[in-house]
């Protein structure tokens, strides 16, 4: 073991260099003024106060609202899909889960461009509509487009944990419920669903986090004016140049993520204790 720790030393140094130091810098930026001017450093909490301004607060609420909608759609679609998959033979299940994950191997950018070519005013869908004699429906740069993009991007993160917990369910519990007089409907709600809750929680937290922190999809499908937390941060660093404010937002988002992950861990632990 000691041997390995020695070997690991260069990597630890690297890790400190590329993870810890930037993180500390973000913390520093978030509580100071003056951007990169490290000579005249001044501590302040104004950056955090600024987040509470209505214009920025609305970005947060919009992000959360969109996140919730995405999660709900992912949950409905993902649960159904996971449930159907779990009814197949083990071999078929492996293949189906593989199919569900295939989109994850393709770059988000590429997939999003595929949506653009489907949804844009002279895209595939509208061309078809026109051919059938209907008017074009503007879909790009709407909530609808962003939600479609997000749902298609995040669906696997819902399907996989739910499928995993459905697979773990001991079939004799299902039979016990039927034995005690529960028909399919009651068996599902009183047993199957209850036992899949850890997977559902994992899926919800994962898709929610990913949907509120994304910036590529809203930028491409929502257009330049479409502002979510991710875009706000990106803007602060890249176009506005207010690194202090950008850092404060990042830190707040990181806090939200940390809390969510610890909730997820707890759900996971309860899941294993049950077995």
């Amino acid at each position: 073991m000691r041997h390995f720790t020695k070997l690991a030393r260069p990597y630890i140094i690297w890790a400190v260099a590329i993870i810890i130091i930037p993180l500390l810098l973000i913390v520093l930026y978030s509580v100071t003024t003056g951007g990169n001017d490290l000579v005249n450093i001044q501590f302040t909490l104004d950056n955090f106060k600024k987040i509470a301004e209505p214009i920025y607060l609305s970005v947060f609420t919009k992000s959360f609202r969109l996140g919730v909608i995405t999660v709900v759609i992912c949950l409905l679609l993902g649960y159904t899909l996971a449930y159907i998959i779990s009814k197949f033979s083990e071999k078929a299940q492996n293949i189906l889960i593989l199919l569900v994950t295939i989109p994850m191997w393709i770059n988000t950018l590429l997939r999003t461009y595929a949506w653009i070519s489907l949804l844009s005013d002279n895209g595939i869908i509208n061309t078809m509509l026109n051919k059938l004699g209907f008017d074009s429906v503007p879909m790009m740069y709407t909530d609808f487009a962003v939600i479609i993009g997000l749902v298609s991007d995040l669906l696997p993160f819902m399907v996989i944990p739910i499928h995993t917990s459905l697979c773990k369910i001991d079939n004799s519990l299902i039979e016990a419920a039927m034995d005690l007089g529960a028909d399919r409907f009651h068996t599902f709600w009183k047993v199957t669903f209850k036992l899949s809750i850890p997977g559902v929680l994992n899926g919800i937290i994962m898709t929610f986090l990913l949907s509120i922190s994304t910036f590529v999809i809203p930028k491409l499908l929502g257009g330049g004016q479409y502002m979510l937390i991710g875009n706000l941060i990106e803007n602060q660093f890249i176009s506005v140049g207010d690194w202090n404010f950008g850092s404060a937002i990042s830190l707040l988002l990181a806090a939200v993520i940390l809390i969510a992950i610890s909730l997820m861990k707890r759900a996971d632990r309860e899941d294993t204790e049950e077995e």
């Binding site: 004799s172 419920a177 039927m178 005690l180 209850k194 077995e275």
Partner: protein, 349 residues
């Protein structure tokens, strides 16, 4: 045990893929009966139980409940309940809610549920455990919850698939006695599955010995033990001397070159048969007092009795006795006519 048939299996077969697991089961279960399906691993006990419960469909044959064919009725509509081998308690419910599960599904009045659950928990000796998490219970306690959860629905028949299999020897004995007591108290039919012959003999009104999807013998524990119908039953039920013999005529059988009086009749003259003699039915006497002679080959103390092997000219005999005999001693073996049980010879094995 009454005379009224509650469940009847008629020509039941079950095939999984290529493998025929049940090869024509005909069996009657009576009201109030404690019936045990006994047989080695893989003989089709669980499959039989699952067909009665409705979890598996028979490939052919009928399951009659109160005279009505229930083969097509789903499990949740059958008046039977199951105690599963690994209990299958709901981990997200406490003891009370596990037991109340079936009653709540049937939308029973809350007061009645409370009353029934309290009663049944008292019956299985778990009063005061209502709020406990099922995962915090010992194996024996979980077993009791599983029994209570099934019994509270007042089924006409309770199916138990090796319910004591996971318990240690001492607890197992206790639960055997308790189960028997519970069955007497609630007065319903218990169909009990086990591969432990001692358990089957000590608890049951009727024992059904199965092997390879075929019923070998149905009878009271005494019948099964004393009058095994074939070699399989005789050897499965306990250690025995099983000897190839010839039935000279009614009441006379020959083996080891000696003719013995017996109490069996109805065989053909000179029919090839097999004879079983239980180890505790053989007496060791002085060498000159017996026609069957041999030498003590080994003696092992077994707690209550000695297990002695006596080597005779044709074979070794196993004998249980409380007396001690020196190895190497020349002895004689005797047994009465009713200690010899004549069986049909089986072609297979």
């Amino acid at each position: 045990m009454s005379e009224k048939v509650i469940i009847e299996l008629k020509g039941l077969t079950k095939t999984f893929g290529e493998q025929q697991v049940l090869k024509g089961i005909d069996l009657k279960f009576y009201e109030n009966e404690f019936l045990t399906l006994l047989g080695p691993s893989g003989c089709g006990k669980t499959t039989t139980l699952r067909i009665i419960a409705g979890f598996d469909d028979p490939s052919s044959g009928e399951v009659l409940f109160d005279g009505v064919d229930i083969s097509k009725i789903p499990p949740y509509k059958r008046e039977v309940n199951t105690v599963f081998q690994k209990y299958a308690l709901f981990p997200f419910l406490n003891v009370y809610d596990n037991v109340a599960f079936g009653l709540k599904i049937k939308k029973t009045d809350k007061k009645i549920i409370e009353h029934k659950v309290t009663e049944v928990l008292k019956l299985v000796g778990l009063s005061g455990f209502e709020k406990r998490d099922v995962s915090s219970l010992s194996g024996g306690q979980q077993q009791r919850v599983a029994i209570a959860r099934a019994l509270v629905n007042e089924p006409k028949v309770l199916l138990l698939d090796e319910p004591l299999g996971a318990l240690d020897a001492k607890l197992r004995k206790e639960m055997q006695i308790e189960l028997k007591k519970i069955q007497k108290e609630v007065g319903i039919t218990f169909i009990f599955v086990t591969h432990d012959q001692e358990e089957a003999l000590s608890m049951s009104d009727t024992v059904v010995v199965m092997n390879e999807g075929i019923i070998q013998q149905v009878g009271t524990p005494e019948d099964i033990y004393n009058e095994p119908e074939n070699r399989f039953v005789a050897s499965f039920i306990g250690e025995s001397n099983i000897i190839e013999a010839v039935m000279i005529k009614d009441l006379l059988v020959e083996f080891d070159g000696i003719q013995f009086d017996c109490v069996d009749k109805g065989f053909k003259e000179n029919e090839d048969v097999e004879v079983v003699i239980r180890p505790e039915d053989i007496d060791i006497v002085k060498h000159e007092d017996a026609r069957l002679k041999g030498v003590v080959k080994s003696i092992v103390f077994k707690g209550v009795h000695h297990e002695i092997v006596v080597e005779t000219e044709k074979r070794d005999y196993l004998i249980h006795t409380t007396d001690y005999f020196e190895p190497g001693l020349e002895v004689g073996l005797t047994f009465g006519p009713d200690d010899i049980h004549v069986m049909y010879r089986m072609d297979w094995e």
